[in-house]
């Protein structure tokens, strides 16, 4: 046992040495064999990038249709709710946690000598690429990440340039939650050729949009991302508010499945293309008017 600990320490210090002296010893470094993810977004990227046998456990959310993009792919794996005592029996050689939530768990795992890496929250395409690169590197398959990023960049390049006459849309989640230009969903709206009503309302990254602003700005479309269909929500009912109908405001509703918006990954390209498609559908009849 001690021998293995020493071996790991040695490997770790070698790795440190390698990074400091910028010699790429990383190729000879063994990729982790028992990765446990305690963050939904890390689940998705692992399912995308790691070998199935490298993954020991995912979060319970990865089995949830509304949350998990790779839900069917996640079903064979055991899940945890992210508690340290559930994680340890898998004897993980790498635990991937999210940026928020579970500070206590992360501190405890680190203290017990488990390697914990943090997956940051992506607020723009560059950070999405960064996250894909990070998980690809951590799981020992940097080439897979590079290939996915290359395809994404090709698809990005095919998108038409932004048009100042573009129609106006707003992300409108329950309770009027909306996004500004410095968030990933805000950026994907812009890439799809929409102008963002949230931005006009002064939202920088995350904020909320009240009914008055909505009536004033008259967006052509609302983008929502309902988590569960057929559940009552006060905010969803708000879009049926007399003020909206009275203002003859009948925005086109674009629904993006929640499992594509909760976490970031290559599927963001599908979202962008859907948004672009919806925009073209909407602006075609308008321009012919």
């Amino acid at each position: 046992m001690w021998y293995r600990v020493c071996q790991k320490l040695l490997l770790f210090s070698l790795l440190l040495l390698a990074t400091f002296s910028s010699i790429t010893l990383a190729d000879t470094h063994q990729p982790p064999e028992r990765i446990v993810s305690i963050n939904l977004c890390a689940d998705e990227l692992l399912l995308l990038l790691a070998d199935p046998k490298q993954i020991s456990a995912l979060t319970h959310l990865s089995h949830d249709e509304g949350a998990s993009y790779f839900q069917t792919k996640a079903l064979p794996y055991p899940t945890t709710t992210g508690l340290a005592e559930e994680v340890l029996p898998f004897k993980p050689d790498l635990v991937i946690a999210g940026e928020y939530g579970g500070i206590q768990t992360v501190n405890l795992l680190k203290k017990l000598g488990v390697r914990v890496e943090t997956l940051p929250l992506a607020n723009n395409m560059q950070q999405v690429f960064g996250n894909i690169e990070l998980i690809a590197k951590l799981s020992g398959h940097p080439e897979r990440g590079a290939e996915i990023i290359k395809t994404m960049q090709e698809r990005l390049a095919k998108l038409p340039a932004a048009n100042p006459q573009a129609p106006l849309a707003a992300v409108y989640d329950p309770n009027g939650y909306t996004v500004g230009p410095e968030s990933l969903r805000g950026q994907s709206m812009r890439l799809a050729g929409w102008r963002n009503a949230g931005e006009l309302a002064g939202v920088r990254d995350y904020g909320s949009l009240d009914l008055e602003t909505l009536v004033r700005l008259q967006p052509d479309a609302l983008i929502d991302s309902p988590y569960t269909i057929n559940t009552y929500s006060r905010a969803e009912a708000l879009s049926k508010h007399p003020a909206l109908r009275g203002a003859q405001l009948n925005p086109h509703i674009i629904s993006v499945p929640s499992n594509m918006t909760i976490c970031d990954g290559p599927w963001i390209m599908d979202t962008i293309e859907t948004l672009q498609h919806e925009r073209l559908n909407l602006s075609q009849p308008r321009t012919s008017e």
Binding site: H60, E85, E86, L88, Q104, L112, Y206
Partner: protein, 329 residues
């Protein structure tokens, strides 16, 4: 009931719950095997789960529960008000506010100890503020009012931070923290909490007799040689230490300080001095039970222990109000 037997049976109860708390979890732990591995192969998974995850959790529940019960009993004795509890004088919310500030600005990345230390500081500041507001020889009413005001101030500042949270994710983290939780604490957390808790408890030593005298009214107590303002200071500082350390480690766990002294008071013949140790044991038993409860309730995302105690405590609070109304009629 005989006082000694009450304490013995409560201690036994706490001991059993403590052991149960080591065994019960999402997946039950084969306790004998784990205990065996602690001595033979202390790096095995079972041993680590037992000594580094379950043990600190049970210890923190034990000490935090005892602190809440003890401080509740002391407050109720001091203010001679059955509805008093440490939350009332703002210690808990002051601690929570400072902890939320640390989380909000991401200061915990500087050092893991930032969170507990700042929460203790918050409890001390809030308690100090109540003193400053109420003045040196304040009446009970002024004190309670000052406590309510400081409490309101701290809670609204906390709401402001939640309101301004940079992202929904950050907000979720802040909200969850204030709910009160003892999962995945480490022995480091416990060692950090312990000295401050013990200082608080030590300050409570010997106040029982004076609290007994206070039941006769402040004037009578003063004639018996008790200095009401002195005892008030002492208990408040004790609460700031002990509750500050507890809130720092567990978040806000409500209602234990309120409910436990009430349940035990008839069993100690309404005598504040005897209530103090009994309430400490009772508080420990209650928090351990609640913490075992949240592990057994099969929900997808674990219920926070503070939510469970509040769910049980709030109806009890209503019952107290109804009963006190009946007594007054």
């Amino acid at each position: 009931m005989n006082y000694r037997w009450l304490l013995i049976s409560l201690s036994l109860l706490v001991f059993c719950l403590f052991c149960l708390s080591l065994v019960v979890g999402r997946d039950p732990l084969p306790i004998w095997q784990a205990a065996n591995e602690v001595f033979t192969d202390h790096r095995s998974v079972l041993a680590i789960i037992l000594t580094e995850i379950r043990l600190p959790r049970a210890l923190i529940a034990l000490f935090a529960g005892a602190t809440l019960g003890l401080c509740g009993a002391a407050m109720q004795g001091l203010l001679r008000n059955p509805l008093a509890s440490p939350d009332l004088i703002g210690s808990s919310s002051g601690a929570a506010l400072c902890a939320v500030i640390v989380l909000y600005f991401g200061l915990q990345s500087i050092s893991a100890q930032m969170l507990p230390l700042s929460a203790m500081l918050g409890a001390l500041i809030a308690t100090g503020l109540v003193f400053a507001l109420a003045g040196r020889d304040a009446s009970i009413t002024t004190l309670i009012l000052a406590g309510v005001a400081v409490n309101a101030l701290a809670t609204s500042a906390m709401s402001l931070l939640l309101n301004l949270a940079p992202s929904p994710y950050a907000m979720r983290e802040l909200v969850l923290w204030t709910m009160g939780d003892i999962t995945d604490r480490s022995m480091d957390d416990f060692w950090l909490m312990l000295p401050f808790t013990l200082i608080g408890w030590a300050l409570m030593l010997g106040v029982g007799r004076q609290l007994n005298a206070l039941t006769l009214g402040e004037e009578t107590a003063a004639s018996l040689g008790v200095r009401p303002s002195w005892i008030r200071w002492r208990i408040f500082i004790a609460i700031a230490f002990a509750v500050g350390a507890t809130v720092a480690t567990t978040g806000m766990i409500g209602f234990i300080g309120l409910v436990v002294p009430h349940l035990l008071r008839p069993l100690v013949n309404y005598e504040p001095a005897r209530l103090l140790p009994a309430a400490a044991l009772g508080g420990a038993a209650m928090l351990l039970t609640a913490d075992i409860g949240v592990r057994l309730i099969p929900t997808e995302s674990a219920i926070k222990v503070g939510v469970l105690t509040a769910l049980v405590g709030a109806p009890f609070f209503l019952y107290l109000i109804l009963r006190s109304r009946k007594e007054h009629v």
